[in-house]
Amino acid sequence: MDEAQFLALIKEHQGIIHKICRLYRESKEDREDLFQEIIFQLWKAWPTFKGDAKISTWIYRIALNTAIAVFRKNKPNIQYTPVLPEMPEQEQNEELALRQEQLFAALKLLDDNEKAIITLYLEDMNYQQIAEIIGINENYVGVKLNRMKNKIQKLLTK
């Protein structure tokens, strides 16, 4: 497959990458850098994509791998207030916007590995799919998800 096909697929699925960047990085600048790094890694890995898996599954694997592996800049740990600075300027349903803010605030308290598992879960992947992408067994996915669900629900009901 050529560059044009790659670009078309990434353009179509770029929402996945934006969500991961928002989850793993605090500042807009860091998210931009991570977005670019993920696109670059996807392009480097493109020749190995054989089409056995869905393109979205492949993007999730590379993007989450990159978000965890890439070295972060040393910056002071500033407390994050959940706002949506780079959202398109469209009026959103207020209730939905509030839910999204709550969701991201809670998810950001998880560690990098938990974020990867919960992201795949929120994308409606089943335990087997999550296990295959991460490289762990299904039981472990179940155990981890149950712990995280409780943790998130506690955070959201506070």
Binding site: N65, P88, I134, Q153
Partner: protein, 180 residues
């Protein structure tokens, strides 16, 4: 909020939209934020040390010192440069396996080796410089103090480098073990 609502909220998140041209630019190494910085650092180092190597033989009395001292100096300067060039290639490939866990494990092994060589290269670089500039130097109290200060600065630099790599390695190790 129930988990089904969470899924709903996640699915409805609106994200920015990048144009095809913007994405295309990101495929280029020249636009890559980390690789750009490494290239800049490499260029400055290569130019700086090339100038030094051209001038040192006459300017710093390399012609009056034994050949093994000269060779040690040249090798100690070239090793970190070669290592940085390898680092450029290393930074290009973060994905090293078919699953996230396998990839992180393989990447961790590579980073361990890279970090060790990085510290050894820096140590060798410092020894090379010290050997060259102190060979057959007649020491007095002032020179001893200066020598001690230089060694202290070098040791602090080494410690900072060690801490930097230790922190990176620990973060990666934590990520790998969290999946065990």
């Amino acid at each position: 909020m129930e988990l089904d609502e969470l899924k709903h909220a996640w699915g409805k998140i609106e994200t920015p939209i990048k144009s095809t041209d913007d994405i295309k630019l990101m495929l280029s190494e020249n636009r890559h934020p980390v690789l750009k910085k490494i290239r800049m650092q490499l260029t400055i180092e290569i130019i700086g040390w090339s100038v030094f190597l051209i001038c040192y033989y006459t300017m710093f009395d390399g012609n009056h010192k034994p050949i093994w001292i000269n060779i040690t100096l040249i090798v100690s300067l070239l090793l970190p440069l070669i290592h940085n060039l390898m680092g450029y290639r290393f930074a290009k490939y973060l994905v090293n396996g078919a699953t996230i866990k396998e990839s992180l494990k393989n990447y961790l092994s590579k980073v361990k080796i890279y970090a060790t060589v990085s510290i050894i290269c820096r140590l060798f670089f410092m020894i090379g410089l010290l050997l060259f500039f102190t060979y057959e130097l007649s020491f007095n109290t002032k020179k001893y103090i200066s020598f001690a200060i230089i060694i202290l600065i070098f040791l602090i630099q080494l410690f900072i480098l060690y801490r930097l790599w230790a922190k990176r390695l620990n973060n990666l190790k934590d990520a790998v073990t969290a999946f065990d």
